[in-house]
């Protein structure tokens, strides 16, 4: 019975059901923590709402103006240096939680964006321009410059490694 039910629903719903079950357990066994978690949940929703709207607009614009040909040209297998630069800059400029960018990246991937560039984009999210004053305050300017340099360098190295791994032929 449960197996048949699980076959019918997709992974995304199973994931949501599992997390909701944890919330129900918390509600039953520790109401105080449940209350705090719920407040945190709504705070988080409120915080990411602008990013949610931004990602929606970007997805809409990409649907409107970017077809597979353009995506492949700029971020596809033969994009070359252009693709690396685009994914580095886009990664640095993107803000908000990482999971908010998965839908847009998933769409771009379907249209032909290379895995290596998605990896580079996601790694460069570690370079946070608005938070630079904070990291300088805690760790110093020299440390920040060196770390930023290595993060950008390794975003490309990681992209190449992930691409290599994903394209390994099975023996």
């Amino acid at each position: 019975m449960i197996n048949r039910f699980l076959e019918k629903i997709s992974g995304k719903w199973i994931f949501l059901i599992v997390v909701t079950t944890i919330y129900i357990f918390l509600l039953i066994f520790n109401f105080h923590s449940f209350e705090r978690v719920l407040i945190q949940f709504f705070k988080l929703i409120w915080t990411i709402l602008p990013i949610f709207v931004l990602v929606f607009c970007l997805m809409f614009l990409s649907n409107l103006f970017l077809d597979s040909k353009k995506i492949i040209k700029y971020t596809g297998k033969s994009a070359g240096l252009k693709g690396w630069i685009i994914s580095i800059i886009a990664g640095i400029l993107s803000s908000g939680p990482i999971y908010m960018w998965y839908p847009l990246l998933s769409e771009l991937k379907d249209k032909g964006m290379k895995d290596a560039f998605i990896t580079t984009f996601l790694y460069n999210r570690a370079v946070k321009i608005p938070l630079l004053p904070m990291i300088i305050y805690y760790f110093g300017i020299t440390f920040t410059i060196i770390l930023t340099f290595y993060m950008i360098l390794f975003s490309v190295i990681n992209g190449l490694i992930v691409h290599k791994f994903l394209n390994l032929k099975k023996p």
Binding site: G11, V37, Q40, F41, L44, M134, I135, Y138, T142, F143
Partner: protein, 141 residues
């Protein structure tokens, strides 16, 4: 740009958003749980002073943590004050942003399981390498 194409793009975006909504909702619920149930004091108890184990611990804890990177800087600053090595703290703040264990189910569902696993493992390893390289370069200046 005509009205027909605009409508088509808009409906396509709404449809895609509807599909990913359960995943996004699940991740936000999971992150909220984590932020409330794991107190900041937890981070100070896991470092032992071992030069090899601490960077590994830093990267591991950073990977399973979630939230604004600002929190990782503040925690990192506190950890440094308590004598935790700069390499461990750097691995911690780096993996906080680049590795996402809590978001892994969402990343797998939307970008593919093989991609998500490979990317997170590579990011985890590179957070330790970058931490070593950064501190080594810093010591040369």
């Amino acid at each position: 740009m005509d009205l027909k194409n605009t409508k088509k793009a808009l409906f396509g975006t709404v449809r895609n958003f509807k599909q990913i909504l359960p995943i996004i909702l699940g991740v936000i619920m999971l992150v909220s749980l984590f932020l409330v149930l794991i107190p900041n004091s937890f981070y100070t108890t896991i470092f032992t002073g071992n030069k090899i184990v601490d960077p590994l611990m830093g990267a591991t804890v950073g990977s399973i943590s979630s939230g604004n990177p600002l929190i990782s800087y503040i925690l990192g600053g506190e950890l440094l004050d308590q004598g935790v090595s700069l390499i461990a703290v750097t691995a911690f703040i780096l993996s906080w942003v680049t590795v996402g264990i809590i978001q892994l189910p969402a990343e797998s569902l939307m970008l593919g399981r093989r991609f998500a696993l490979t990317r997170n493992v590579i990011s985890f390893i590179s957070s330790i390498i970058v931490a070593f390289l950064t501190v080594f370069t810093l010591s040369l200046i």
